[in-house]
């Protein structure tokens, strides 16, 4: 095969330039055709290098294919199709041209990243992911989205800079820029892991995600939830499988966001915390590194894009129709938006890993891999996190959005294009959950021997689901469940949104104070010096006296005498 084929991102970038000039059906056609043709173009692609370009002394591999990248290639085309279908209704005053164009460029960047064969190409698309997607946040046109978008951009660009630094050190040390297994050894790989970690939402590096995603437009968040973090998962799976540290990091990711999700009022922010929790399962799988675990991680990424997208779409539809997604404001919407409510329930069942829904067939792979590897405590914590998912994504999202106490809001069902997008996602969730061996399993990087549907898996999962749900509903019934409150919950972004500005401000005033003090003391010393100098040089001072010539001659002879004396000694 000649290494000059058109890489998958090319069509997306070309369409991104084109769509602002198209209207109506023509634009809709382009938006929907690009991902469909993109997916068809991937069919039957052979593994290997498909396109390279020479830039200065480097040969950049812009299109390289293997089973792992191919799976993400199909996934991102699918996600783009659903997200474009969901956003077809956008009007000019909502910034349709900007959002459609940014969405295309963003999806194209994600495809560019997963088919990148070297670290430099990866870096370019890594930065483009940030630069293109930030417009989906800014398009909300609120003060919050503006400042949140700036923070999002800064953090993501820093991630890219770390990646570039790591890549250059790696190239210097090994002479290779190939994007392949790296493993953790030395500064270069740590920098690259940190870069991946920021985009994957590692603990304490995750602030940007829960800060910005809920501030984007109703349709923008659907794009955001699909690409950036999953590109990071892909990158981790390629470069760091079997890295022990990732098991610990992943478990923390599954466990800490579920506490925040319980008390968060903005339902799209709840889903953002939920996203970190789900990525945690993937990171654990990558860290375990066995074929079953990596298969589980990748399969879960595939399913998560669809069911998390579906949940984000349902909340986006609510935001679009009612202008709010706050738990305190909503409730009873199933009366006005019954179909959206039903689709939301499918998403909730999928993420909660109800048997016959997609989450069940992938999450159980990671759990089984943890048990098989003898990681008992990891497994216990993952089980706890699974119960937490049932609470916040399985119950809280649909319950507070569509049921709970009727808020009195009456509105219309979501627009047809939104319903279609949610409907297709729902069908996929059930199809993958019911027929994993005919859908997602054949795409996985390793052959699958795992059987999700046996009595043990189904029975134990049903027990967990039933009793964690009953726990939640009985707590609600008895008043033990904390009510939704209008509030902000402090998280790691507090460090740069609240603390850092104050530290800089108080450091600034401390420097100003020190500077003022220094100037005052210096001025005082200067004035004392000037006064003394003036005194010494005044007509009456000793320095201004007249001396007779004989006095000078006397001193010269004394000095010469002393010199002679020392010479002879």
């Amino acid at each position: 095969m000649s290494p000059t084929e058109l890489p998958p991102f090319a069509a997306y970038f070309a369409a991104a330039l084109l769509v602002p000039f198209l209207r109506g059906w023509l634009r809709a056609g382009v938006l929907l055709l690009v991902p469909v043709l993109g997916a068809l173009a991937l069919l039957g692609l052979e593994p290997g290098v498909h396109a390279q370009v020479r830039v200065m002394d480097f040969t950049l591999t812009v299109f390289q294919v293997d089973r792992l990248s191919l799976l993400f290639g199909y996934l991102f085309n699918l996600a783009a199709f659903l997200a474009f279908l969901f956003s077809l209704h956008l009007k000019r005053e909502e910034g349709a041209a900007l959002q459609h164009s940014a969405g295309l460029a963003y999806a194209g960047s994600a495809l560019g990243a997963v088919f990148a064969g070297d670290l430099i190409t990866l870096f370019i698309f890594w930065e483009l992911l940030a630069l293109t997607s930030v417009f989906l946040v800014w398009a909300r046109k609120s003060n919050r989205s503006l400042s949140s978008g700036v923070r999002y951009l800064v953090v993501n660009v820093v991630s890219g800079v770390l990646l570039l630094a790591g890549a250059l050190i790696h190239a210097h040390q090994t002479g290779s820029i190939a994007f392949t297994y790296l493993g953790l050894d030395g500064l270069a790989s740590w920098l690259i892991l940190l870069a991946f970690g920021i985009k994957a939402g590692f603990p304490l590096l995750h602030g940007w995600l829960v800060d910005a995603y809920p501030e984007a437009t109703p349709t923008g968040t659907v794009f955001l939830s699909a690409f950036t973090t999953k590109v990071a998962v892909y990158a981790l799976a390629r470069a760091f499988p079997g890295t022990d540290l990732l098991v610990t990091v992943g478990v923390v990711m599954t466990c800490f966001p579920i506490f925040y999700a319980v008390i968060e009022n903005d339902l799209r922010r709840v889903l953002s915390y939920s996203m970190i929790n789900q990525i945690g399962f993937m990171v654990v799988g990558i860290g375990l590194g066995t074929p079953l675990a990596v298969n589980g991680a990748v399969a879960h990424a595939f399913n998560d894009v669809i069911f998390k997208g579906l949940l984000m779409m349902s909340m986006g539809a609510v935001l679009f129709r009612t202008g709010t997604v706050k738990g305190t404001d909503l409730g009873g919407l199933y009366k006005s938006m019954p179909l959206t409510a039903a689709f939301s329930l499918v998403g909730a069942a999928s993420i909660s890993a109800v048997p016959l829904f997609s989450g069940f067939v992938s999450k159980s792979m990671v759990m089984a891999a943890a048990l098989e590897g003898g990681h008992g405590w990891i497994w216990i914590l993952l089980l706890f996190a699974s119960a937490g998912v049932v609470e916040h994504a399985g119950i809280k999202i649909p319950f507070f959005g569509f049921f709970a106490h009727d808020s009195g809001i009456r509105t219309r069902e979501a627009p047809l294009n939104m319903l279609l997008a949610m409907g297709i996602a729902s069908v996929l969730c059930i199809a993958i959950g019911a027929f994993p061996h005919k859908t997602v399993y054949p795409l996985l990087p390793f052959p699958v021997e795992f059987v999700p549907y046996d009595a043990t898996h189904v029975l134990t999962q049903l027990q967990l689901l039933f009793f964690s749900s009953l726990g939640v509903f009985w707590m609600m019934r008895t008043g033990w469940y904390p009510p939704e409150k209008r509030s902000v919950n402090l998280d790691s972004d507090w460090a740069y949104r609240w603390l850092a500005p104050r530290v800089v401000r108080s450091a600034g005033s401390a420097i100003a104070r020190a500077d003022g003090g220094f100037r005052r003391v210096s001025l005082r010393w200067l004035s004392v010096f000037l006064k003394e100098a003036a005194k010494a040089l005044s007509p009456t001072s000793g320095l201004s006296r007249h001396y007779p010539t004989g006095f000078m001659v006397l001193w010269v002879s004394i000095l010469l005498g002393a010199y002679l004396l020392f010479y002879f000694l």
């Binding site: 089980l383 119960a387 009595a455 134990t460 027990q463 939640v472």
Partner: protein, 85 residues
């Protein structure tokens, strides 16, 4: 609350909600009981305990929610916390 002139729906009546809740609880009990009749594979010592998953789910979720409630004291601020400067 329902908008004026609307017919009360099934879920608007607390009695119906309670019935559903008790029904679900009964189903849960059946699921737990089935644990005594099926032979299932055991990989972790805790799994030997019949009904382990149910008990773990219920205890875990209560613990999670109550700890999260306590977390509010530490992290909860006014809605315009970051804007009020």
């Amino acid at each position: 609350m329902k908008a004026s002139g609307e017919r009360a729906r099934f879920l608007d009546r607390q009695r119906n909600v309670d019935r559903l809740l008790w029904g679900a609880t009964a189903l849960g009990v059946i699921v737990i009981l089935s644990d005594f009749f099926f032979h299932r594979h055991v990989y972790h010592p805790w799994e030997n305990f019949r009904g382990f998953y149910g008990v773990f789910g219920a205890v875990g979720i209560v613990l999670l929610v109550q700890l999260a409630k306590a977390l509010r004291r530490l992290v909860m601020r006014d809605e315009d916390y970051y804007e009020s400067d």
